[in-house]
Amino acid sequence: MLARDFLRNKILLARPGESLYRHRLPVRLTHWINALCILFLLGSGLNIFNAHPRLYWGKYGADADRAFLSIGAVDRDGRTDGVTQVGPWRFNTTGFLGWSKRQGDDVARGWPDWVTIPSFQDLADARHWHFLFAWLLVFNGLAYLSWSLFSRHLQKDIVPTADDIHAIARSLADHIKLKHPTGEAAKRYNPLQRLAYLGIIVLISLMVATGLTMSPGFDAVCPWLLDLFGGRQSARTIHFISASLIVLFAVIHLLEVVLAGPINEVRSMLTGRYVVPKEHRQ
C-alpha cells in the first residue's frame, strides 16, 4: 500500500497539472451503457434498413413511390454494380453499398455484412436486437437525464452559458487549430463540447421519438407524432439522418479523445480522475 501511494503521489506530483474528479459515477456508467446501446442499435438498424433500402418523405412510401435515397444492385453488361441514388444523383458504390462481399461471395444487400448486426441478413433477428437495446437506451437515457437534472449537471455543465455562446467562434477556431483548453479553462466543458453534448442528447431523443413514430401501435397512442415529423415515412427518414449525425458525433468525439490525450481522457471516463493540462506559457 505504501509503495502504491508513493507511486501515485509521485506520478501526480511529478505532473505539472493538478488532478480533479471530473466525471461522477452516474455519468461514467450511463456513458458506457449508452455507447454499447448505440453500437448495437446502429448495427441492427442497418440490417433492418437492408430489408427495404429506400427512404421517402411523407405519410406513405413503397416501391412505386419516389424515393429520395435508394440503394440497389444493377446489372450492366454481365457485371453487377452497387448503385446508391440520392435525389437526382447516382453513385457507384460497388463493394460497399448495394453489392458487396459476404464470406467470399458477391451479394446484393444495402449495407455490407461487416457493419450490420447480425452480420447475416435477417430482419426478424435484427429487430430483436434493435428493440432489446432500444429499451436499454431509453431506461439508461432516462436515468441519465433525471440524475443530470436533479444534480444540476445538465444545467451547470452541459447547457451553454451566455459567455459560451459568445465564445463559440473562438472555440471553433481553437478546435480547428487542434488547440485544447488548459489550466482553469480545462476544468469545464468548452463551448463546442457543451453544444456537442447537448446535441447528442437532442439527437438520441429524436431517435427515440422517430422510432416510436414508426410503430403503428404507438401512433394510436400519440398520433401527434405523425404530424410533428410529417408522416411515418418522414419519421423513418429523420431516424436515418439522426443516426448518421450520431455516427458523425462519435467520429469527432473519438478523434477529440485521441487529440486531447487518450489516456487521460479515457481514464477520466473510467475512474473519474482527470489531470488538468498545464497552462500554456505566454
Binding site: G43, K59, Y60, A62, P118, D122
Partner: protein
Amino acid sequence: MTTARDITRRAAILAGFGGAGALIWNVNNLTLNPSFSRVFRAVEDWTRMSQRLLLRSGQLAREYSVADISPIFKPNGTFNPGGEEYDTHVAQNFVNWRLKIGGLVQHPMSLSIAELRQLPSRTQITRHDCVEGWSAIGMWTGVQLGLLLKAAGLAGSARYAVFHCADNLSGEPAKGGEQSPGQYYESIDLVDAFHPQTLIAYNLNGKPLGVPNGAPLRLRVERQLGYKQAKYLQRIEITDSFRKIAGGYGGYWEDRGYEWYAGI
C-alpha cells in the same frame, strides 16, 4: 489510498468491458442460440404489455383523407395463391367462397361474400406498415370482426382468433430448422379482435379486393404491422391457444422468428 474499493472497481470495469466484448464477438451465435431467444421473447412481452397499457382505452389508428391514398397499394408476400381451387373461385368471381367461423364458439358460421356485404360495414382509410419499412395508405371496407364474433358467441375459454388462409408461402424456412407448413395463417387476441377498426375487409379503395391484395377477404388489424393483415381468408378458428397450430408461434412469420405482437 488504494483500497479494496479500487480493486473492486477495477474488477467491475474489466468485467463490464469483457462482457460487452464477448457480447459483440458472439453476436451471430447468440442470435441463432435458441436459449438466448428467451431474452428476445421477454423484450417482446415487455413491448406488448407496455403498448397494451398505453392502448387500454382502445384508441383508434389514425384515419386519413381520400387525398392521402397511395396511388398503388403495394402487394407483398403472396401475389396469387393459384392452384385449381383458387383459380376456380377467381373465375366464378368468388360466389362460392365461404368464410367459416368455428372453434370455441356457440354458433359456428359459414358466410358467403354476398352475405358479408349485406351486414353493416365500416370504411376506413388507414396506413399499412410493412415490417420491412415501407407504408401504403388505402381505403378499406368490411365487416367489423367483433360483430361476427358476437353473432357466433364466444365460449368462456376463448382467447385468440386464428385466421387460416388460402395461400401457401413455403419459400422461407422455419426458424431453427424445425419444419412448419407453408400455409399462411395469423392470430390476434380478443383485445384486437373486438377493436372497432378490426375488419374482415372485402373492398380496397371502393373496389372488390384484387387478387394481389388478398381477394376476396383480408383481415385489417390497424395497430399492427402488415404481416398480421392476413389475406385470402377462409376460416377463423377461435381457440384458447395457438401452440398446437403449425409451428406454434401464432402465425406464418411468427414461426419464422418475427414477433407475435407486431405493434412496433
